[in-house]
Point group: C2
Chain length 275, copies 2
């Protein structure tokens, strides 16, 4: 059983049917203690305004999502991308979010050099560490699914996230976000989670539908798919993680079409029975 | 430069625009020495008829594609699936194909036990070895992209394919098919290919389009995407592979819509410049 005080509902789970004020109101009236905010929505509503809104409703943040995409082969573009991450870290600090979800970036079609891209990403993260430390916000490296390696993230496995953390040597300010949808398939996921240990600073759940209609925007509710979510939660908890369980469901055809209170009700049930 | 005698064009590359006789005729008039045949098409045309057709046109096979899907949690279903693989091995033998591309199967939604599924798959392959050996056809284990782990293949990495081969201890009759589209993202692909060595019995090329419209059916022509194909070919050749380079492009919106001779002409060019 998950302690209800550990439930966080990510803003993307109600991305289409709620503005930020509507989303926060829905969390508050359903007794949800925590959220992770989506950066686009937060900036649209205003960072300061959003910070007041969540605080006034007694809601805390488990994270701020997302920034990164620093892998351009062009030095000027890459520097601009790093500056944008620094702004996102400042926004996360203003929101009192403990971490910023970091999405590395994809392979630059101009150079097709995936190993070189990974080295560039790692060097770029190293440059961001001082800013993250002074902002008091962890950079949560999120291994993302290999299917978005070309466009969004060359950080594809827990193993590589651990290797990057080893090389950065900054565990005080660089952690790892474990997303079940991104890592469930990995034959070495158990070893990767165990090795990550206290680096794990964020844990996201959703399910992989066997009959998925869209690999990216048709994620399933916990219990509706093929991922053994209790097993994965057991692994992160055995590794020392006792923080929020963040429900993050991108679902164009189903959950984004439903009433917010209905969705939240199903989540409250499913985190007990299927996560 | 690729020796043109090493070019094989997989039947799926012209799947929609050609019947089997049209496909074989297109290969013959363009001087393509080798193909890998698609099982559905082969059975529709007749295995014996197809065998005569390719032989009469002086075309050899680099493989027969595919069979497998043996991961059902139901014993009767799994036994029936293994019987189907045995039939496919016999068909491959009749076609004089050196290997049968083996697709493991996905996670059974009824048990959600991915580690258990992988053990079932491995045990099932072990049962197929005597039949493969007597048919004289290699089982080519093909690690497939993690995005199809749920439905098609729990064999997701070169590392796992090597582990399975180690445990099977039957390198004379179980090999590994390396598909660039499936493995290019893997941070450990170089190590996996080097470890595979002479186990590599099949090598498939296509490209990953940065602006892909469909992750499964919008593969790109070599040179149009983000995969460093010459680097991957260098790895398999350094590992000892000197067989056919098989062009396998699933492309609903582009290459399947084009004239067969045009497609083959582009392939002949691109294998020299971009693969």
């Amino acid at each position: 059983m998950l302690d209800p005080a550990r439930l966080s509902i990510h803003q993307v789970t109600l991305l289409q049917q709620c503005s930020t004020p509507q989303f926060v109101a829905a969390l508050a009236r359903n007794g949800i203690p925590c959220t992770s905010l989506w950066r686009d929505k937060t900036r649209a509503h205003g960072v300061g305004e959003t910070a007041r809104l969540v605080a006034d409703n007694g809601i805390v943040l488990s994270g701020y999502c997302f920034a990164g995409l620093i892998t351009s082969a062009d030095r000027t573009e890459a520097a601009a991308a790093r500056d944008d991450v620094r702004r996102a870290l400042d926004e996360a600090a203003a929101l009192a979010a403990p971490c910023l979800v970091f999405v590395a970036g994809g392979v630059d079609p101009r150079d097709r050099d995936i190993a070189g891209t990974r080295e560039r990403a790692l060097a770029g993260i190293a440059e961001l560490i001082p800013h993250a430390r002074s902002a008091g916000v962890k950079i949560a490296l999120e291994p993302l699914h290999p299917m978005i390696c070309a466009t969004r993230s060359v950080l594809s496995t827990m193993k590589l996230a651990n290797e990057w953390c080893d090389r950065l040597g900054a565990d005080d300010v660089v952690g790892i976000a474990v997303d079940t949808y991104a890592v469930w398939w990995d034959p070495d996921v158990a070893a990767g989670i165990a090795r990550a240990g206290k680096r794990i600073c964020s844990f996201h759940v959703s399910d992989w539908l066997a009959d998925t209609q869209d690999l990216r925007l048709d994620r399933g509710m916990m219990g509706d798919g093929v991922i053994d979510l209790p097993a994965l939660r057991g692994m992160v908890e055995a590794a020392g993680y006792d923080g929020y369980v963040e429900v993050e469901i991108f679902s164009q055809r189903n959950w984004w079409q439903r009433d917010p209170d209905e969705v939240i009700g199903v989540i409250k049930d499913r985190v007990q029975t299927a996560a």
